[in-house]
Structure formats: C-alpha cells, structure tokens
C-alpha cells in the first residue's frame, strides 16, 4: 500500500491496517531529568512492541513531558504514542503542542481527559479541562482531515501559504468497568463519532464483563470503525491485586485471581502467567485488534509476556 492511503502513516496504523494483532506497551517518563531511565526502558521494549505509550504527567505527577520523551524514544528507534490530557493545557496549548509533536516526527496521539490533580503530587494546582477527551479527539481529527484549527481557521502560516496540517493517528481510552455500565458503549460511540482511530482500554481482569462489553461494541459495529486494543496489567503481588481492586476507580479484579496469587509459591510468576492467559483469551475475542500492556514499573517483563503469549518470537 502506498503511504498516502494512510491517515498518519505511523507504524501502529500500518500494523492495524494489515490486520495484525498489535502490541503496545507503556513507558512512563522519569520524574527527573534522567535520560538513562528512558534509555533503559527503550532497550527493554525495543523489538517487542509496535508502539509505546508515553504517559503525560500520569496520575497527575510531574514527569518529563510526553512529547519530549516521545521524540527521544523515536530517535532510539521505538515508535511513540504520545498521551495528551486536558488537565494541564487549554485548547491553544494543545493545538500548538500537536503541531510541534508532528514536526518532531510523532504520528500517534492518545487523547485523554486526564486524572484529576487531587490524585497527584500537586493537589493544590488549578486544573484546566477547557475541553474534554471527546472534544480533543474531534479537534485532532479536524486538524488532520478538515485541516482547520478548533476555531475554524485553516492551518496555514499566512493567507498565501500552503496548508500544512498535522496528521496524527488518533487514539482514545475506554473503560468497560466504570459506571454507568450501560453508558460505556454509548460513550465509545461518541468517541468514534468524534473521529477516534484506535482505542486502548482500561486494564482488563474481569474477562466476562469485558466480553459483555465487546458484545455490545460489536452489536453497534464499533469494532469496525476503530481498532480496539485491550489493556492488561500484570499483577506483581497480592498487595497490588488488592490495591487495584480497592483503590483504583474503574478497575475490577475478580477474587479468583487474588486467591490464585495468594496461594502461589512465586506470586510474581503467577502474575505473569495470569497475564499471558488473559492475553490469549482476549486475542480470541472477536473485535479485539491488539493488546496494550501496562506493566507499571515492571517493563522488564514485557518481552517475556509478549513471547509467552505467542505474539512475538
């Protein structure tokens, strides 16, 4: 296929267009100006994933900017998906960052509302939320396809200049586990209507609920309008499993997983085993186009998970 048939031409877009089961992971930039952290994580993930999400001040904690880290990662040979939240920027800043990211060679963006600052290390900060994630998706789509800014102005430097629009492969998040459950597919449809190309879900533990959600997604034909990557997070310990179950809003961890890890001689190995099984189950689910592995602080396990799930050799 010629490059110009693609929306963005990113590797992730091409993989998904070819119908291959996509694998993405997450790379949290450092909480300091430490380049080594980035180098190390890139070395762990390179060759094992199609693209990697670069988080944007995740959980409202200050880190190296997702665009700056994305550029560094790109130069190291890994494709970034820059995350962009609405918490820290207004519509001017968001659009200027998108232009800049595009010029730096970044082609994938994940549009998020962003965690509330009360979750993070600057709880007294003022938040922005000028726009929300659905409006952000629409803005990035309009920049790419209509070649206009949010205000309707054409994307060109002067009246006589050529239009030069940023062409991004647009991602969004979906949470099949938050409430109201019946509204979650409707909200996904609204993201599709706004122009989302791919979706990464909140981490899936409750496969049954996820399958119910996917059934509804398929009934609405949404899996054909955007590519859905199911999120997974390997559980490291019983403590982490309980924390995910009890403390993370919108995540459910069935008790049988908690019991399995509690009984295991090697809880970490059990966590990896469960994760691999989950990926295999998700891969069998109609409409799931890939998997998004969020191994928070456990990036070194991504190659093993990918390999054991039979996604790469």
């Amino acid at each position: 296929m010629a490059d110009n048939v693609y929306k963005s031409g990113s590797n992730l877009e091409k993989v998904l267009c070819r119908g291959e089961f996509a694998v993405t992971a997450e790379l949290g930039p450092p909480k300091s100006a430490d380049l080594e952290v980035i180098n190390k994580k890139v070395n762990l993930l390179k060759g094992w994933v199609d693209a990697v999400n670069i988080t944007d001040n995740q959980t409202a904690i200050v880190r190296v900017s997702s665009i700056a880290a994305g550029k560094l990662i790109l130069d190291l040979g890994l494709e970034p998906i820059i995350q962009m939240t609405c918490r820290d920027r207004n519509r001017l800043s968001i659009q200027s960052d998108i232009l800049g990211a595009y010029l730096l060679g970044i082609r994938n963006i994940l549009c998020l509302t962003g965690d509330h600052q009360s979750c993070g290390n600057h709880p007294t900060a003022k938040h922005v939320f000028d726009i929300d994630s659905i409006q952000l998706i629409q803005i990035v789509k309009n920049m790419r396809d209509e070649k206009v800014f949010a205000c309707g102005e054409e994307i060109k430097d002067s009246k006589k200049a050529e239009v030069k629009e940023p062409r991004m492969f647009i991602g969004g998040a979906a949470n099949p586990f938050a409430d109201p459950f019946e509204f979650r597919v409707i909200r996904l449809r609204r993201k599709v209507n706004a122009g989302v190309d791919f979706i990464q879900t909140q981490c899936v533990y409750d496969i049954d609920r996820f399958k119910n959600w996917m059934e509804e997604v398929r009934d609405n034909g949404l899996h054909k309008k955007c590519r859905i990557l199911a999120g997974v997070t390997p559980l490291k310990s019983v403590g982490m499993a309980k924390y995910m179950r009890d403390q993370v809003a919108g995540v459910t961890v069935p008790d049988y997983y908690i019991e399995k890890i509690a009984k295991a001689k090697d809880p970490k190995a059990e966590g990896i085993k469960i994760c691999v099984e989950q990926i295999q189950q998700l891969r069998q689910t109609e409409g799931v186009a890939g998997v998004h592995i969020m191994a928070i602080g456990w990036e070194e396990k991504v190659p093993e998970i990918v390999q054991r799930a039979g996604l790469r050799n």
């Binding site: 609405c86 918490r87 519509r91 509302t113 962003g114 965690d115 509330h116 009360s118 979750c119 938040h127 939320f129 000028d130 726009i131 929300d132 994630s133 659905i134 409006q135 629409q138 949010a150 998040a173 949470n175 938050a178 409430d179 109201p180 509204f183 409707i186 909200r187 449809r189 609204r190 209507n193 706004a194 909140q202 809003a249 919108g250």
Partner: protein, 219 residues
C-alpha cells in the same frame, strides 16, 4: 444561595489586633440562611471577641451587604469604629469597603459556593454561575459544577457506583446523576450527541463580568 463558613477564630483575631473599637456587621440574606453571618452569629462572634481582647466590640446586622441602600442605618456606628468585621460573603465585604473607603475592613467568613441546603448543617455546590446555563440539555443536573472535571462529555473512567474518584465518600458522580435523570425521563437520546467545547468567555475567564439591562436602567 451563597454558602459561607466562618473563618478560624485565630485568623479573625489576627486581623483585629491593634484596633480599639470594632463593628461586627452581619448580613440578613444568604449568610443568615446558611447560619454563617446573620444576627445570631454576629452576637456569638462579638461575645467571643469581647472575652478575648480589650477592644470595644459593637454589633449590627443589615438586610443585605451587597446593596448600598441598606447601609444608611449604620453610617454613624461605622464612623465611630476604627475597623469593621464583615460577616457577609465576599460580595458584601467588598461593598462595605466601597461604602467606607477610609475604614479598614476584614472578612469573618470564607465564601464557599452557590448551593443548596441538604439538611441540618449540610450544604452542597450546584452552580458555578458560568453564565451559559446548560441545565436544559443535561436533565437539570449541572455537569460544569457537579463533575469534578466539568466535563461536557462525561463520565470519565473514575465513576464507580455513582461516586466520583476524587472523593468517593462525599462526591457523587455528576454524570451518573445526569444519566439517571435522563433515563428516568426517557431522554437518553440527548447523550448520543457530542457537546462542543464551551464558551468560557461568558464565565469569569472572560474577565470580571458585568450585566447591564436597559429595560431596568430606563425605569
């Protein structure tokens, strides 16, 4: 109504230190209803101040501190004092400062929000006075105020069992409320459309707001 609460007493005493004769001035409207700065609260606070300092403390309450016409009755009293402690909301405090340009004026309350009384000693925020009311499309529940992120296309992933992740014990998910209301009304179709970004210029982001109405001004 505007809901307010009294400041910590030490902060109030800090403001008043060094003043000889203080007028504690209550307001008979919102802060009376929310039991923060009416006649009764004025009496209590004035007594506490008398007990804890040598200053002379006098007290009075006018109908509304946000309206200049109610200040005539206290002009002489105010003139005899070297400081005024206003127990009104921030609007009233600023009006007192405007009416008495040569008097030090201090707030006794923290102005909290526009809200409802939810039962004895309970109030909650319902309106941000955004200047562009969307309650007609959101089933009578305000997403700008009742969602912690003011999302127009919510709910975010932090909505669980009708609660907001910012404080699941105390904050309801505004979007769950919107969803439930519209479901009851059989109007979930409203939520199929994506809401466009808001015009925040009608809110404080457009600068301090003014309202002029020729129909009233001409009367």
């Amino acid at each position: 109504m505007i809901v307010a609460e009294q400041k910590p007493i030490e902060e109030i005493k800090g403001y008043l230190a060094g003043h000889k004769r203080i007028l504690v001035l209550g307001c008979g409207t919102c802060v009376t209803v929310c039991l923060a700065g009416g006649e009764r609260e004025v009496a209590t606070l004035a007594s506490i101040l008398r007990l804890s300092s040598d200053s002379e403390v006098i007290e009075n309450t006018i109908e509304r501190q946000c309206d200049a016409e109610f200040f005539d009755a206290i002009k002489d009293q105010a003139a005899s004092c070297d400081a005024i402690l206003s127990m009104a909301c921030g609007v009233g405090v600023q009006m007192v400062a405007k009416i008495f340009p040569d008097k030090p004026i201090y707030p006794a309350l923290n102005t909290m929000f526009c809200g409802t009384n939810d039962g004895a000693g309970q109030w909650s925020e319902n309106c941000l006075a955004c200047g562009d009311c969307k309650l007609g499309i959101f089933g009578g529940v305000c997403p700008v105020t009742r969602c912690s992120k003011s999302l127009l296309n919510g709910p975010c992933g932090g909505s669980v069992d009708g609660k907001c992740e910012v404080d699941p014990e105390n904050i309801e998910c505004g979007w769950q409320l919107i969803y439930d209301r519209l479901k009851t009304l059989g109007r979930l179709d409203v939520l199929l459309e994506n809401a466009a970004p808001r015009d925040w210029s009608r809110t404080h982001d457009g600068g301090p707001r003014r309202l002029s109405r020729e129909d009233v001004a001409g009367l």
